[in-house]
Amino acid sequence: MKNKKWLLSLFILVAFIQLTVPIFMAWRWEDVLQTGRRFYWETAPVDPYDAFKGRYVALGFKENTLSGVNTEQLIGGQLVYAIIDENTEGKAYISGLSMVRPDSGYYIKAKAYAVGKDKVHVNLPFNRYYLPEELAAQAETVYRESAGKQSGVAAVRIKDGYGVVEQLYIGNKPLQEVLQQTR
C-alpha cells in the first residue's frame, strides 16, 4: 500500500512536469509575441506537408546571409547569435554575427553555415507559418501569383534571441485578408 502511494505521488510529479513543459513553451513564445520588437522580413514562401503539425507555409528569407566574415573558425551548423538591424526601407537584415550572447540590441539564436570563404548563411529559425489545412495550398497559389509583382513580408517579433512570426503580408495586406478576397 505504501509502495502504491509512492508510485502515485511520483506519477503526479511526472504528470506535473509533463504539463508544465507545453505551458512554459507557450508562455515563452507568447511573451516574445507581446513584448518583442517587430521586424519586417522579405520572404519567399512554399508549401510542404508536415503530418505532425499540419499544413504550413514554409518561409524563405532574402536577407539571410552575411558577407565579409572570416568563416575559417565556423563549424557547419554551429549555433551563433545573428544581430538584427533595420535598413533605410524599414526591412530587417543581419548586420553581424556573435559567438557569445550580445548584451544589448536585437539578435536571433540560429544555426550558421559557411558559404565560401567570407560569407555566412544563417538558418533563421522562424521559417514556418502554420495555416488551417484548407488554406495553406491556397496561400501558396496566392503567393506564387503575386511573386514578382508584390513582395511577401513576414512580421517577426524578436526578443532575447527568440523570434516568432506574427503575421504574413502579401504586398501590404495581411495574408488572411488576401485569401478572403480570392475566395
Binding site: K4, L7, L8, L10, F11, I12, V14, A15, I17, Q18, L19, V21, P22, I23, M25, A26, W29, E30, L33, D50, A51, F52, K53, G54, R55, Y56, P125, F126, N127, R128, Y129, Y130, L131, P132, E133, L135, V164, V165
Partner: protein, 429 residues
C-alpha cells in the same frame, strides 16, 4: 506450467483419491497450487493487443485532428485543448495506476495514449506559435518527457514508442553521443522484463526492437568514424550479439524466438561473404590508416570484448558457437595482412578459407546431429562462396558451367543420401 498437463493432472485427481494415494485435502492443495486448468490467457492477450492498438489509433487520430489547425480557435483555447487532452490522458493513467495496476491491458493502453498525448500537446504549442525549433528538439523533448511513463506504468508499448522516437531523433542528429544516454535509459526496464517476464511475447518483441534500434543508432552515431574499419567493427558487434544470445538464453526453443542469435548470425555471415571479395579489400586498403583515433579505439575495444566474451563463454556447445563468434579475430588478422600486402589478395584468401572451413564444419555438425536444415545451411554457404568466386575470377564459361553442374549434383545427392539415412535411422529406432 503447461495448462494441458494441469488439465490432465486434474482428471487424474479423483482416481488418485479413490485409490488412497492422495487425501482430499492434498488434492485440494494441488488445485490451489496450480490454479484453474482452463486457459483464459488467450482472451487477455486479445484484450491487450486491442487495447494498445485502440490507444494508438485514438492518439494518432487526435494528433491528426489537431494538425488541421482550426482557425476558429484562439491561442488560449488551443493551449487549453492541448493541455486538457494531456491532463485527461494523465488522469486515466493515474487511475489505472491506482485501481487497475494488475491489469496489463489497461496499463499498456493508457501508457500508449499518454505517450502520444505528450507529443500532441508539444506539437500543438509549436503550431500555434509557428515554431520550427527543428523536428529534433521536438522529438527530444517528447522522448525525455515520455521516459518516466514507461517505468511508472511498467509498459512495454511505451518503451517501444520511446525506442522508436529516440531512433528517429538520432537519424537527424548524426554523431550526437547523447543518444547513448537516451538508449541506455530504457535498458534497466528491459533487464527487469528479462528477469520477470522472460518468456512473454512482449519481451520478444521489444528485444527485436532494441536490437534493430541499436544497430541503427550505432550506424548513425559512428558512421563518420568508421568508413574503413566499419566492417570489422560491425563483425565484432554481430559476434557479441550472437554470443549474448547463445550464452544468455540457453533454452533452444526460446532462444530461437529471441533476435540475438538470428541477428548476430545473419550479420556475421553477411560480412564474411562481403569480405571474400578481393575488390572490397582493395577498397579498404586505400586509406584505412587515416582513420580517427576514436575509430581505432572503438574497433580495438570491441575486438577485446569479443575475445573476452569468447573466452568466458560457458556452454555445452561452446566450440560450435565460437566457430561464428571468432570471426572478428579472423577479420582482424586479415586487416593486419592488408597492412603488409595492400593488393588485398592475402586478406581475401584468409576470408575465403574461413568461409570454406566454416561451411564444411557446419555441414559436418549437421550430419552429426542428423539435421537436414543445418546441412543445407552449410551447403548454401559453399554455394554462395563458389558463385561469388565465379564473378570474381576470370574463368571460361565452360569451366564455370561444369563447376555449377557439379555443385548442383553434389547438393542434390547430399540431400537424397541424408534423407535416406535419416529414414533409416528412424526405422532402426
Amino acid at each position: 506450467m503447461n495448462k494441458k498437463a494441469v488439465a490432465w493432472l486434474y482428471q487424474q485427481l479423483p482416481e488418485l483419491i479413490d485409490k488412497g494415494i492422495l487425501t482430499t485435502e492434498s488434492a485440494e492443495r494441488i488445485r490451489e497450487y496450480y490454479g484453474p486448468a482452463t486457459d483464459n490467457t488467450g482472451n487477455r492477450t486479445f484484450l491487450l493487443i486491442f487495447g494498445v492498438i485502440g490507444a494508438l489509433l485514438v492518439g494518432l487520430g487526435i494528433i491528426l485532428i489537431l494538425a488541421h489547425n482550426w482557425e476558429q480557435l484562439t491561442k488560449l483555447q488551443r493551449l487549453m485543448i492541448a493541455v486538457g487532452l494531456l491532463a485527461i490522458s494523465q488522469i486515466i493513467a493515474g487511475c489505472v495506476l491506482w485501481f487497475k495496476r494488475d491489469s496489463l491491458a489497461w496499463r499498456e493502453a493508457s501508457a500508449t495514449l499518454l505517450t502520444l498525448m505528450i507529443g500532441a500537446a508539444l506539437a500543438m504549442v509549436g503550431q500555434t506559435y509557428h515554431l520550427v525549433e527543428d523536428v529534433e528538439a521536438f522529438l527530444l523533448t517528447w522522448m525525455v518527457l515520455s521516459l518516466p511513463v514507461l517505468y511508472l506504468m511498467n509498459s512495454t508499448a511505451a518503451a517501444i514508442l520511446y525506442l522508436l522516437g529516440v531512433t528517429s531523433w538520432i537519424s537527424n542528429q548524426h554523431g550526437n553521443h547523447l543518444v547513448w544516454l537516451l538508449f541506455g535509459a530504457v535498458l534497466p526496464y528491459y533487464r527487469g522484463l528479462l528477469i520477470s517476464r522472460s518468456k512473454a511475447n512482449a519481451t520478444v518483441i521489444i528485444s527485436w526492437v532494441i536490437n534493430l534500434c541499436f544497430y541503427f543508432i550505432f550506424g548513425a552515431v559512428f558512421s563518420a568514424e568508421l568508413n574503413k574499419l566499419g566492417l570489422l567493427v560491425y563483425s565484432a558487434l554481430f559476434a557479441l550479439t550472437y554470443l549474448l544470445g547463445a550464452g544468455w538464453f540457453k533454452e533452444e526453443e526460446y532462444s530461437g524466438r529471441m533476435p540475438f542469435k538470428v541477428v548476430g548470425l545473419a550479420g556475421s555471415l553477411g560480412i564474411t561473404f562481403i569480405l571474400t571479395f578481393k575488390d572490397v579489400w582493395q577498397g579498404l586498403a586505400l586509406g584505412w590508416h587515416a582513420e580517427t583515433m576514436l575509430g581505432y579505439g572503438i574497433a580495438g575495444a570491441l575486438l577485446l570484448l569479443t575475445i573476452g566474451a569468447n573466452v568466458l563463454l560457458r556452454s555445452p556447445d561452446a566450440l560450435s558457437i565460437r566457430r561464428f563468434s571468432l570471426l572478428p579475430c579472423v577479420i582482424g588478422i586479415a586487416y593486419l595482412f592488408l597492412a603488409y600486402e595492400p593488393s588485398g589478395i592475402g586478406a581475401a584468401v584468409i576470408l575465403n578459407a574461413y568461409m570454406l572451413l566454416l561451411s564444411i564444419s557446419v555441414m559436418a555438425s549437421g550430419v552429426q546431429r542428423q539435421s537436414l536444415g543445418i546441412v543445407n545451411m552449410g551447403m548454401l554457404l559453399v554455394v554462395a562462396l563458389i558463385v561469388a568466386r565465379f564473378f570474381d575470377i576470370d574463368i571460361s564459361f565452360v569451366a564455370r558451367g561444369i563447376a555449377f553442374v557439379l555443385v548442383g549434383l553434389a547438393f542434390l545427392t547430399a540431400n537424397i543420401v541424408l534423407l535416406r539415412r535419416k529414414a533409416g535411422w528412424q526405422h532402426e529406432e
